[in-house]
Symmetry: C2
Subunit: 353 residues, 2 copies
């Protein structure tokens, strides 16, 4: 093992400043109330001259705290959840914590990731995943070992964890109401795998929205996708919907990417968006803004921030009761459903040249 050149330690500083290690330590950690001005100055100068940098590893060993938080991203399929990491890191660092990032491809992987972070002795853990939790026992163990855990988008079942989720149901209901308000009576919805919690919540929201607007539920207008759906499938589903004897005038997609593909499909088939068919997404991805997509925002960044806050509170007060936050999903009205005064899309055909 190639030895690094010896680092300058707190002891070197102490020697240089003519004080003891403890005093230097106190100076570093701001325990400076009972310290002569002059001593402090001498220590600071010594530190500067020796270009001293404290070792947070040694400090971690001594204090049993690492000033590090762990973030586990499980099954990141869309770049959407990646967007939580920047705000999370920012929030954490503002509070004096660094962020150790691990992504996990599946649940087995997640266990490993969590264990890794535990060995690294993070002071807290946030887990964000798109999947339903089958088991949280590994997380429970970590938490009982004294490392608080906050969950994002992993709803409901585990009251012992701090968690933040968003209100899929209300979000979809809102967009249904929005469309109904624009005069749509036949509103289709493309959903993900039906055994997912998010799918169920969205269907609930869909039905709730219809009810509230006194619109009938028509099973033909519910188009379930599945894990292996491709752009081709999405296109096909649109064509299927349009081929109905009584086709929808609005389509709610299962996410913004699907929505983008749908818009394109419609335009290619000669329909205008939104005047012929309205399209809404779910997510509010960065690009959605540029495509003018009307969509329901999934507040991942906000969720990340709040999760960190929960974690910090929990670190400060380990015995407090776990908090559960449910974030609203704001409706973002842009162009693809109309309703904003401006009319954009002409009938175009952007097929080959």
């Amino acid at each position: 093992m190639a030895k690094r050149p010896n680092r300058t330690t707190i002891n070197d500083v102490a020697l240089a400043a003519g004080v003891s290690m403890s005093t230097v330590s106190n100076a570093i950690n701001g325990k400076t109330t009972a310290m002569a001005e002059e001593t402090l100055a001498r220590i600071q100068q010594a530190m500067r001259e020796l270009d001293y940098r404290p070792s947070s590893v040694a400090r971690g060993l001594a204090t049993q705290r690492t000033a590090t938080l762990g973030l586990v991203l499980t099954e990141i399929e869309t770049p959407l959840f990646l967007q939580a990491v920047t705000p999370i890191e920012r929030e954490a660092r503002q509070a004096g914590y660094s962020l150790l990032l691990v992504n996990a491809r599946n649940e087995a992987d997640e266990r490993e990731a969590v264990q890794l972070l535990q060995e690294k002795q993070v002071d807290g853990l946030v887990v964000i995943s798109t999947s339903d939790p089958r088991q949280n026992d590994h997380l429970g163990k970590v938490q009982s070992d004294g490392i608080p855990v906050a969950l994002i988008n992993r709803a409901g079942f585990s009251p012992e964890f701090d968690q933040v989720n968003w209100d899929n149901s209300a979000g979809v209901a809102a967009i249904v109401e929005h469309l109904a308000g624009l005069g749509h009576r036949r509103i289709a919805v493309l959903v993900g795998p039906v055994n997912r919690r998010s799918t169920q919540e969205r269907l609930q929201g869909y039905q709730a929205g219809l009810e509230k607007c006194a619109l009938p539920f028509d099973n033909d207008l519910v188009y379930p996708g599945d894990y292996t759906a491709t752009p081709k499938d999405w296109k096909q589903s649109v064509l299927d919907l349009l081929a109905l004897t009584n086709p929808p005038t609005a389509i709610i997609a299962s996410d913004d990417i699907v929505a983008a593909v749908i818009v394109r499909t419609l335009q290619e088939s000669g329909r205008r968006v939104p005047s012929d068919v309205a399209v809404a997404g779910i997510d509010d991805q960065p690009f959605s803004q540029y495509l003018g997509l009307t969509t329901v925002q999934l507040p991942v960044a906000e969720a990340g921030r709040q999760a960190i806050q929960l974690l910090l509170q929990r670190i400060a007060n380990p015995t407090a009761k776990a908090q559960h936050i449910l974030l609203p999903c704001p409706l973002v009205v842009r162009d693809t459903c109309g309703g904003k005064g401006r009319l954009h899309e002409r009938s175009t055909n952007n097929a080959r040249g």
Copy 2:
């Protein structure tokens, strides 16, 4: 300071297994050649029974290595660079390293971030930024302290660092040639701030491409943007270009988002894409695939992987000469420039929630 319940240490295991700490340590670290089967088994069982987890903090202090790499993301303006983090983390972890992530808003911030990571005693550092480096002295210092640094997209000036960049120039040249091959004679280009290295490289590539195809250079077709450009500006620039007495038949955008806006602008103004005007982007963002955008791929994920590899090599052999890797930017032909005969034969196996 709230004390955690005492963790089970290597000593507890040693006691339980009836061996010495050193032997347990050896067992953990695979130094098992000179160890009786039975001893090993006893140790493993003791570890299992006590649910022992080694403390990597303590190990870090003892070995002076943390098995952690630092990643600094400076000035993330597009989500594009965020996409490097997943592959980087994966690559790092595969090699037994964790990833400490810090993002920095500006150069001052970057200094701080680097210092933080140094105090955390990362074993290596990768810095990825969209900006030109004004100074790398802080990085130089870190490296001379024994922490290797790999740079991504921070070209050229600093031979002492391992680095990986991509060939903007060749990428743009390729797309010019592609367009020329499709019959375009008037190819416009929207570029970023002219004082940027990437802008200059792209302009070089643009000119090189024109020359190679024996196309004249027309300054009217070069439309420089700036940092504060908005979608509105981009739209205006398109309209300006189209208002020329001799307007372009193809537009190369400064990135994929701009390209997406341009496509929309063209469609809104009644032009067809690509038959009336061809549009190309630069980036290859995830959504570009779904929009059928023809674009030049910026290989950020690959760059991330290679950077980690460079780092690992450097960690293994600290005295080796720094390596500089220049990645090609492959042309990704989709629909917005035509030239592909078939439409949308892509597929993904992405599931999403």
